[in-house]
C-alpha cells in the first residue's frame, strides 16, 4: 500500500536533458497542467460553438462560469476592471480544473504544490502591478504610503507596507496549496483505514470517505473561487488609491 504522501511525488514522464542545470523534463505535473488547459479549451469551445439565444445545457454551464467571473470583477473592481475579465477567467478555469482533475483516481494535483501555485500567484501579482502602473503611472507607488499619514512614521510604515505587499503572493499560495494538500492527505489516510480494518470494520471509513470526497469537491471549487476573488481584490487595490 502506498503512503499518503506518495501522491505528491513528481515523476518525469518524458526525460529531457538538463539545460543549464535546470531539469526541463515533462513530468506528471506538466501533464496535468496541459490536460487542464486542454479540457478547459475543449469544453468552452464546444459549449460556445452554436451560440444560441436559448442556451443548451452545455452553453448555460459555460455562461454560468462567465457570469460568476464577470460578477466578481464588477463587484470587486468595478467597471474599469472589465478589461481584465479574460485574465481572471483563465486563472479561475486553470485553478478550478487543477483542483477538480486532481480528485480523479490516479491523477496528480498540481495545485497542491508550492512551486506551481507560487509561480501562478507571482504572475498574477505581476499582472496587477503592471495594470496599476498602466492606469495610475507612478501614483501606484503611493499604495505604499497612503496620503494623509504623518511623515514621521514613514520609516516604519513603508517597510511594513512593502512586506505586506510581498506577502500577498505567498498568502495566496499557502491558502490554496495547503488546502489541497491537507484534503488529499486526509483522503488517502482514511482510504488506508478501509484497507487496514478489513471487511468487517471497513464500512465506516468507506462511508466517511464518500462524504469527504463530496466535501472535497466543494472545497476544490470554493478554493478556486477564493483564489480568484482575492486576485480581484489585489487588482482593485492596484487600480484604486486607498
Amino acid at each position: 500500500m502506498s503512503g499518503p504522501i506518495e501522491q505528491f511525488e513528481i515523476k518525469p514522464l518524458i526525460s529531457l536533458p538538463k539545460i543549464d542545470g535546470i531539469d526541463l523534463s515533462f513530468t506528471n505535473s506538466s501533464l496535468f497542467m496541459a490536460l487542464a488547459v486542454g479540457v478547459g479549451s475543449v469544453f468552452f469551445i464546444t459549449a460556445m460553438r452554436k451560440r444560441q439565444l436559448i442556451p443548451t445545457k452545455l452553453q448555460s454551464v459555460a455562461e454560468m462560469v462567465y457570469e460568476l467571473v464577470s460578477g466578481m470583477i464588477n463587484e470587486m473592481v468595478g467597471p474599469e476592471g472589465r478589461k481584465y475579465i479574460p485574465f481572471v477567467f483563465t486563472l479561475f478555469t486553470f485553478v478550478v480544473l487543477g483542483n477538480l482533475l486532481g480528485l480523479l483516481p490516479y491523477s496528480f494535483t498540481y495545485t497542491s504544490h508550492f512551486a506551481a501555485v507560487g509561480t501562478l500567484s507571482v504572475f498574477s501579482i505581476l499582472v496587477t502591478i503592471i495594470a496599476g502602473l498602466k492606469k495610475r503611472g507612478l501614483n501606484w507607488f503611493t499604495n505604499f504610503f497612503p496620503s494623509g499619514t504623518p511623515i514621521a512614521i514613514a520609516p516604519i510604515l513603508v517597510p511594513i507596507e512593502i512586506i505586506s505587499f510581498c506577502s500577498k503572493p505567498l498568502s495566496l499560495t499557502i491558502r490554496l496549496s495547503v488546502n489541497m494538500m491537507v484534503g488529499h492527505i486526509m483522503l488517502k489516510v482514511i482510504a488506508g483505514f478501509i484497507y487496514s480494518l478489513s471487511f468487517w470494520g471497513g464500512w465506516l471509513p468507506l462511508a466517511f470517505i464518500s462524504i469527504l470526497t463530496v466535501f472535497e469537491m466543494g472545497i476544490a471549487v470554493l478554493q478556486a473561487y477564493v483564489y480568484t476573488i482575492l486576485t480581484c481584490v489585489y487588482l482593485s487595490d492596484a487600480l484604486h488609491a486607498h
Binding site: 517597510p159 511594513i160 507596507e161 505586506s164 510581498c166 491558502r175
Partner: protein, 73 residues
C-alpha cells in the same frame, strides 16, 4: 471555515516574507542576526495588518449584502 484559512495564511505569509527578506539582506551584507530580527518583527506587523485590512473589507461587504451563501463559519 475558509475565512479562518484566509486569516492563518495571511499571518503566516507575513512572517515568512519578513523572514525571507531579512535573511536575504543578511546574506547580502553578512550581518547575520540583525536584519532577520528587524524584518521578522516587521513581517509579523505586516501579517496582522493584512488580516485587519482583509477583515475590514469582509465586514463591509457582509454588511452591504445581508448574507453571503458561503459564509458559514
Amino acid at each position: 471555515m475558509w475565512l479562518a484559512f484566509n486569516v492563518v495564511s495571511d499571518l503566516l505569509a507575513g512572517v515568512i516574507c519578513g523572514l525571507g527578506i531579512g535573511y536575504g539582506i543578511d546574506y547580502w551584507l553578512g550581518t547575520r542576526p540583525v536584519f532577520i530580527a528587524v524584518f521578522l518583527v516587521l513581517g509579523c506587523i505586516a501579517g496582522v495588518l493584512n488580516v485587519v485590512y482583509f477583515l475590514q473589507q469582509y465586514e463591509k461587504k457582509r454588511q452591504e449584502k445581508a448574507l453571503l451563501p458561503e459564509e458559514k463559519e
